[in-house]
Symmetry: C2
DNA sequence: ATTTCTGATTTGGTATACCAAAAATTGTTG
DNA sequence: CAACAATTTTTGGTATACCAAATCAGAAAT
C-alpha cells in the first residue's frame, strides 16, 4: 500500500492485513468483520481489533453500523465516482500550486520515477506498476508543498486504491501512461499552469468513467453470484 | 460546534468538552493532555479518554507525539494558510458542481439562511452568528450532492473553526457578509458557474490573509506571554 | 400460518490491570 | 562542575472482564 512506515503496533498490523485482504478481494464486500471472533482467530484481544476496524472505517473500507457487525464496504458507483471527482480536483489544485512551488528536486524525482515506470512497464506485474503510478501522482501532490493538501490527496488515493487498481489493469497501455506522465512533467517544468491543467485533463479525463465501469462490472458480478 | 447529533458515548462527550475548551481558548496551545491524569480528573477510565484524544488528533486539534503527552496543537501560520487554500478549493468545486446539481430546496434553504443571518446580524453574539455563517457554507458544499466532497469540506471547516472564528470576529461587517452571500446565492440560482466563481472569490478573497493575520497575532501574544 | 412475546446472543462501551519502551530524574563519578 | 549511569515515572499498547442495549431466534398464542 506504499505505506513504508513500519506498522509498529498490533492494531496497525491487523489493519494492514485486513486492508490487503479487502483490497485484493479476499474479503469481498458485505463480509462481516466480527470484532470478537476475528480477534480470537488472530489470537489478539478486542482492543487492537477495535482499533484496526476503526482505522479501516475511517479509510472507508469498512462500514460501521450500530449494533451490527462491521462489514466490508460495497461502494456504489456514485460514491466512487464522487470520490474520483474530488481526487481529480485535489490533484489539479496540487499541480497548479506546484507550478510555482515545485523545487528542482521535485521535478527531477518526477522525471526519475517516470523513467522507471517506462522501463518497468513490460517486465513488472500489475501491482508493482500500479504502486509506481500511485507514487507518481503522490509526488505531484507533494510538489505543491502544502501538507494539508498532500495529506487529503493521499487519503483519497488510498481510499480509491481498489477502484483505481481495477481500472488500471483493465486499461493497461504503456504509451498512454508514459507519454501522459511525460507531458505533465514537461508542463510542470515549464511552470505553465494552463499546460499542466491540460495535461492532467488529458491523463485523467477517462479515469472517472473507467473506474465507474470497473465498479459496475464488479457489482454486477456480485449480483450474479451472491444475490 | 454545530454538531447537533447527540454525543452518545462518553468518549464523544469528552471529545466535545475538550474541543470546546480548546477552541474557546481555555486550553491554549501546547497544553499537555495527560491521558491518565485527565481521565482521573473527569472520573473516567483511560479507554474513553484515549478515544477522545484520538478523535481530536484526527481533527488536528491536538498532536500526538511518541512517548510524550499529547498537547494542544499550535498550528503555524503556514499550516493554517495551507488548510484555508484547500478549503477554498473544495468550496469552489462544490459551488461549480452545485450549479448543475443544486435542487430548488437547496437554493431556498440557502436563501432562508441568508435572510436569517441578515436579520440576526446585529442582535446575536459573535458565536451564534459564526455558526450561521458556517452553516451557510456547509449548505453550499452539500448542494453539490457529492457526499465525499461535503464530508471533506466539513472536516476542513471544523479544523479551521478557531482560525475562522478569530478572523470573523476581527473583521465583522454586516453589509459585506450579507451582500456577498446574496451574490453567491443569486449566481447559484442562475446556475452560472463563472458568476459563482467570481462571487466566491469576492467573498473569500481575503479569508486566507485575514486568518493568517489572526493567527499571527495570537502567536505573537503567546510569544510575549509564555515564551 | 402469521404475529407476538420472551430469552439467548451479539455488540459497543467502559473499567481495570499489566507490560515494555521511552523519558525524566536522580545519584554518582571523573 | 560536568558527564555519565542507574532508577523512577510516564506513556502507549494490550489483555481481560463486565454491563447495558439492541438484535435475533424460537416458542407460544391467536
Amino acid at each position: 500500500m506504499s505505506e513504508s512506515p513500519a506498522e509498529s503496533t498490533l492494531a496497525e498490523q491487523i489493519a494492514a492485513q485486513l486492508r490487503r485482504d479487502i483490497l485484493r478481494g479476499k474479503l469481498p464486500p458485505d463480509t462481516a468483520i466480527k470484532e470478537r471472533d476475528n480477534a480470537a482467530d488472530l489470537g489478539v484481544s478486542r482492543t487492537p481489533m477495535r482499533e484496526a476496524i476503526r482505522i479501516l472505517a475511517q479509510e472507508g473500507l469498512v462500514v460501521l453500523r450500530p449494533s451490527r457487525s462491521p462489514i466490508v464496504a460495497r461502494p456504489t458507483v456514485k460514491e466512487v465516482h464522487d470520490q474520483v471527482v474530488v481526487l481529480l480536483a485535489l490533484e489539479k489544485l496540487s499541480a497548479q500550486i506546484a507550478c510555482e512551488r515545485a523545487t528542482e528536486e521535485d521535478l527531477s524525482r518526477l522525471a526519475e520515477l517516470n523513467e522507471k515506470i517506462a522501463e518497468a512497464y513490460d517486465h513488472v506485474d500489475a501491482l508493482d506498476l500500479f504502486e509506481m503510478d500511485m507514487a507518481f501522482h503522490r509526488l505531484i501532490a507533494e510538489s505543491a508543498h502544502n501538507a494539508a493538501l498532500a495529506e487529503t490527496h493521499h487519503a483519497y488515493l488510498a481510499r480509491l486504491w481498489r477502484a483505481r487498481f481495477l481500472s488500471a489493469t483493465m486499461r493497461r497501455n504503456r504509451e498512454r501512461v508514459v507519454s501522459h506522465h511525460g507531458a505533465i512533467m514537461e508542463a510542470l517544468r515549464a511552470r505553465d499552469p494552463k499546460a499542466v491543467d491540460a495535461a492532467l485533463d488529458q491523463h485523467l479525463a477517462n479515469l472517472a468513467e473507467d473506474i465507474s465501469a470497473a465498479i459496475e462490472a464488479e457489482n454486477a458480478e456480485a449480483e450474479r453470484a451472491g444475490g
